[in-house]
């Protein structure tokens, strides 16, 4: 039944949760198998949904709408119903991110093999997390979005705090508090929108805010109100993205959580920030977003340069990658601020591309950490002679990260900057310094690890990557190269969605 397809997709991880409850917690083999098969299920569902998705058609597809909650509000002029629907669906942007989520979650489930203890609860939390992420990208109203958004918060708190390195609990706490602040702001903005406009559905909100100014005034949706809500929404997602100076929690998470979790975190969860900005910022408040574009562009450049500079001076590989994420998220902002087709397309491309690249790199660092018990740059060197496959993959990932043509990073950076140069050439020019710095810090880190002498006499890295380790890495690399060589794969999906955003921006 195709009409239930998305619901089945979103809730498919629940099946695995149920099965896992009955698997004994010491049966490692069955747990792993359930984990991988359980993560494969949403991937298959996502691909099925993709085949049912008509790329040529604009607007939301695979929609499902059910009445969910109704609040009756008594007012002087009669009774007013505020109703909330269970409303899911996908447009091109959602579809891309759903595929990305299912793909990376599947690979992360394999990357989780290195967890030795408490594997059962790990997979249970993992699947609840996946449910939340799939839901976030499919939700078609604010309420549902928020529910799924928060649903990622709790399992993530546990996943960071229970599995990972020494300071993992501190990282879990700062994750919870920062994201809690973000959610708090978001909830107030959403409820205010709901009460004033009477609806939570994206399409209805879009229609309401496209009304002429006089009508909006009558509904108490004044210019100040709209601007206030937009700033609140952007601030909430700025925590998630993260935008400097709200990024410290993300560094801790990237440094302390288990690599499989970091793959998901930097691969997908950070993308919710970008998704939110596009969906709610650009989608609902295009006019107001325009007037903030200058600020957003500057914030983007600050992110880009700040992240790049600090990545340059880190001695821990995980920190290098974490700052590199900060830097790369700056490009998303730059693309959005351009507010033209190239820019927005670049932002979305960067979202996907960074998801894949950072997942690959964090996975590789995890692999190295397992063998060496460290991720400090000075502990490594000469990797290529002992672990040629790992070294090769690391090099490839690094090159993708610095934007080598033919790989996905190049396309997205190129388009984002192309977009910004068109409207804000000076800001864009300053931003390009960041691209040079990126090349420097990536090469510094990657080359230092792969080539050179084996540091510390007698260091043995151990065997090269096992099949279970090679599989996720090669899959990610393949995806990076395919998008890099054939970007039409994404832009085809995105075309119709971009059109509608452009329409909102007034052509």
């Amino acid at each position: 039944m195709s009409s239930m397809l998305l619901t089945l997709l979103i809730f498919s991880p629940l099946l695995s949760v149920l099965i896992l409850l009955f698997v004994p917690s010491d049966d490692e083999k069955t747990l792993k198998m359930t984990g991988v098969l359980g993560a494969l299920l949403p991937l298959i569902a996502a691909v099925t949904a993709f085949t049912a998705f008509d790329t040529a058609e604009s607007g939301v597809q695979l929609e499902e709408v059910y009445q969910w909650i109704t609040y009756e509000v008594f007012q002087a002029n009669g009774e007013l119903n505020y109703s909330i629907q269970y409303h899911i669906g996908a447009d091109g942007l959602s579809m891309i991110l759903i595929l990305l989520t299912a793909f990376i979650a599947f690979l992360a489930s394999i990357a989780s093999f290195s967890i030795k203890e408490k594997l059962k609860s790990f997979y249970i939390l993992f699947f609840i997390l996946e449910l939340g992420m799939l839901g976030v990208f499919s939700a078609q109203n604010l309420f549902l979005f928020f529910v799924f958004f928060e649903l990622t918060l709790v399992p993530m708190f546990f996943l960071i705090g229970r599995y990972g390195y020494l300071n993992r609990e501190k990282a879990a706490w700062s994750f919870l508090i920062y994201n809690g602040i973000g959610s708090a702001i978001l909830l107030i903005a959403f409820v205010a929108l709901f009460m004033k406009s009477g609806s939570m559905a994206f399409d209805q909100l879009k229609a309401v805010f496209a009304l002429p100014e006089a009508d909006l005034k009558e509904m108490y949706l004044t210019e100040n109100f709209r601007m206030g809500i937009l700033i609140a929404i952007l601030a909430a997602f700025a925590v998630k993205l993260p935008v400097v100076p709200l990024h410290t929690w993300m560094l801790r998470v990237h440094a302390e959580a288990h690599p499989a979790i970091v793959m998901i975190h930097s691969g997908i969860l950070l993308k919710i920030g970008a998704y939110g900005m596009i969906r709610f910022g650009l989608g609902i408040f295009p006019e107001e977003f325009k007037s903030l574009a200058g600020v957003i562009a500057v914030l983007g450049v600050v992110n880009l340069l700040y992240g790049a500079f600090l990545a340059l001076s880190q001695s821990d590989m995980k920190k290098v990658l974490a700052y590199s994420s900060v830097s790369h998220m700056g490009i998303v902002l730059i693309g959005l601020a351009a507010l033209n087709e190239y820019g927005i397309q670049g932002a979305v491309f960067q979202t996907v591309s960074h998801g894949l690249i950072s997942a690959l790199l964090f996975f590789l660092v995890g692999v190295l950490y397992n063998r060496r018990g460290s991720s400090q740059l000075h502990d490594f060197g000469g990797l290529a002679s002992q672990m040629p496959v790992a070294a090769g993959l690391l090099l490839a990932g690094g090159l993708a990260s610095l934007g080598l043509p033919g790989m996905s990073g190049f396309i997205s950076e190129f388009m984002a900057f192309l977009g910004l140069f068109e409207v804000m050439p000076v800001t864009a020019a300053v931003g390009t310094i960041g691209l040079i710095l990126t090349a420097v810090y990536v090469l510094r880190a990657v080359l230092g690890v792969t080539f050179g002498r084996v540091k510390r006499e007698g260091t043995v890295y151990g065997a090269d990557m096992t099949a279970a380790e090679r599989f996720p890495a090669f899959m990610l690399l393949a995806a990076i190269i395919i998008i890099g060589c054939y970007p039409a794969l994404l832009s085809g999906l995105l075309g119709a969605t971009l059109e509608s955003i452009k329409l909102g921006l007034g052509g």
Partner: protein
């Protein structure tokens, strides 16, 4: 009043109250004649059966039209029915908790416990059905006096005695203040019936003395806020909760608090709804800023107080103060949604808080301590208990897909809906919710991240506690996902005019 008039009343509408009264009387007589060493367990089953029958009567009355008897002092409207359901539900669950309470001392005074419990419940129910200051006050005192004894029921425990004493003294002061405020209203109007008071307050001559009415408002409001443990009368809660046996603590924090909100709604809203304050502005609008300050202060004091607690009962005392603050928000926002929002939040609060107390009772008995460290490593010792507790804590913290979130969401709707929206109050509530994350998640963290506790011993859960846990967990999740189950029931019957209009005479 002659016999005919007395007989002509439709006494059937008081069936729930008569049931409770009858069972309480029966229990006290039985307790008197039972041998010293006879088990008091049958009394428990009778008490439970009594509450269940009373509940059945309330449901059977659902279709009855508004009726008022005894010269309009006793009134059966949907408001009273809806809130009686909450009281009886809470009472039933708390009795189940008491079924497992094995502290030796309580065992000794068991008989007393059951019938005092029922009289307290009866007092609360009378409050729900009162439309007259006299009956309201009688109900309030019946509840209070019974609770004073309940708090001190462990006669030989110093803490319990201290708890009862503090409760009596501060409760007495609060009652005196309430009564003082009520005397002003009587003095101004010469009426005790609330509907008559409303009518008389419209007389022009009284408008000249409206400052007295404002004074009366503050006196009664502050006095009544004692029962809900709101600022400035919140300081008794930690001390009393700490000393009282857990079932009594649960009763005070849930049933007694519900009763407090009932009287606030019935008395304050009804009496002052049309009253004019100073300069003939509507009184409720005029005093709004002060009530906002009280609500904000309650949330802030409760949440910040809870942060520093190591004693789990004190922590829950502060948490319940904070929750009272949240429930006050719809009260001050002057929204017509106030009834549904408070009713729903109280329902959510009953299931989540009693659920949490069921966990607390099992754990504190198992560990013989009230320190928060009893939660250490609970997940590895008793995964089901830990999971249940996590559900309740998440709900108390207001995480989506739990009843607590649905309640909070409604409260935000009420605060931001009417123009002008109470953004500051909503902001404070959100901020304080974040603060509450710290102490709620701290407990969750202890359960999941820490190991240790009482030597890896498994914890046995008594059947009655197990039943409470299962029911509360299902209700917490169920109301979170499908809040309409409860909301539709409420909207289906509730009519705001019915509350404010004196219809259904029966003399």
């Amino acid at each position: 009043m002659d016999t005919d008039a007395l007989l002509s009343y439709n006494w059937a509408i008081m069936a729930p109250e008569f049931t409770i009264l009858g069972v309480a009387t029966l229990l006290s007589v039985l307790d008197l004649f039972m041998g010293k060493n006879t088990s008091r367990r049958p009394l428990l089953w009778m008490a439970l059966a009594g509450v269940a029958v009373a509940m059945a009567f309330v449901f059977a009355e659902l279709d009855t039209d508004v009726t008022s008897i005894l010269h309009d002092t006793y009134r059966l409207d949907f408001f009273s029915k809806a809130f009686k359901i909450l009281l009886l539900l809470g009472g039933f669950l708390v009795l189940l908790l008491a079924a497992d309470y094995r502290k030796k001392e309580l065992q000794e005074y068991r008989g007393e416990f059951y019938y005092l419990f029922l009289t307290a419940l009866l007092g609360a129910m009378i409050m729900a059905s009162s439309a007259d200051m006299i009956t309201l006050f009688v109900g309030l005192e019946l509840l209070s006096l019974s609770s004073y004894i309940l708090a001190g029921i462990r006669k030989k425990s110093g803490k319990s005695n201290e708890s009862a004493f503090k409760y009596v003294v501060s409760g007495g002061i609060a009652t005196a203040i309430t009564l003082f405020g009520m005397s002003y209203i009587f003095g101004l109007t010469g009426q005790t019936n609330l509907f008559d008071v409303v009518e008389t307050l419209q007389e022009p001559v009284l408008l000249e003395h409206s400052f007295l009415l404002v004074f009366a408002f503050f006196m009664t409001f502050i006095g009544l806020s004692f029962k809900i443990a709101a600022a400035p009368f919140h300081m008794w809660a930690p001390d009393v909760y700490e000393g009282a046996p857990i079932p009594v603590t649960a009763f005070l924090s849930v049933v007694s608090k519900t009763a407090g909100f009932i009287i606030l709604l019935r008395f304050i809203l009804l009496t002052f709804i049309a009253a004019a304050g100073i300069d003939r502005d509507p009184l409720l609008v005029q005093v709004q800023p002060y009530v906002i300050v009280l609500a904000a202060a309650t949330m802030i004091l409760g949440n910040l107080g809870a942060l520093r607690q190591r004693n789990i009962k004190r922590l829950f005392a502060y948490s319940s103060v904070a929750q009272a603050g949240y429930i006050l928000v719809p009260f001050v926002s002057n929204s017509t949604q106030v009834f549904e929002l408070i009713w729903f939040y109280l329902l959510a609060y009953i299931v989540m808080n009693i659920g949490a107390f069921a966990c607390l009772q099992t754990l504190t008995r198992d560990a013989g301590s009230n320190d928060v460290s009893i939660f250490r490593g609970l997940f590895s010792r008793s995964p089901w208990l830990a999971s249940a507790m996590t559900i309740f804590l998440l709900s108390l913290a207001g995480i989506p897909a739990t009843a607590g979130f649905a309640g909070k969401f409604g409260i935000f709707m009420g605060a931001l809906g009417p123009e002008p929206g109470h953004y500051v109050l909503a902001g404070i509530m959100m901020l304080m919710t974040l603060v509450s994350y710290v102490y709620y998640f701290n407990i969750i963290g202890l359960m999941f991240f820490r190991s240790g506790g009482t030597g890896g011993r498994r914890i046995s859960i008594a059947p009655s506690i197990g039943a409470v846990l299962v029911f509360c967990a299902i209700a917490t999740i169920g109301l979170g996902i499908m809040p309409n189950i409860a909301l539709d029931f409420f909207f289906g019957q509730f009519d705001v005019n019915e509350f404010f209009m004196n219809t259904g005479h029966n003399h």
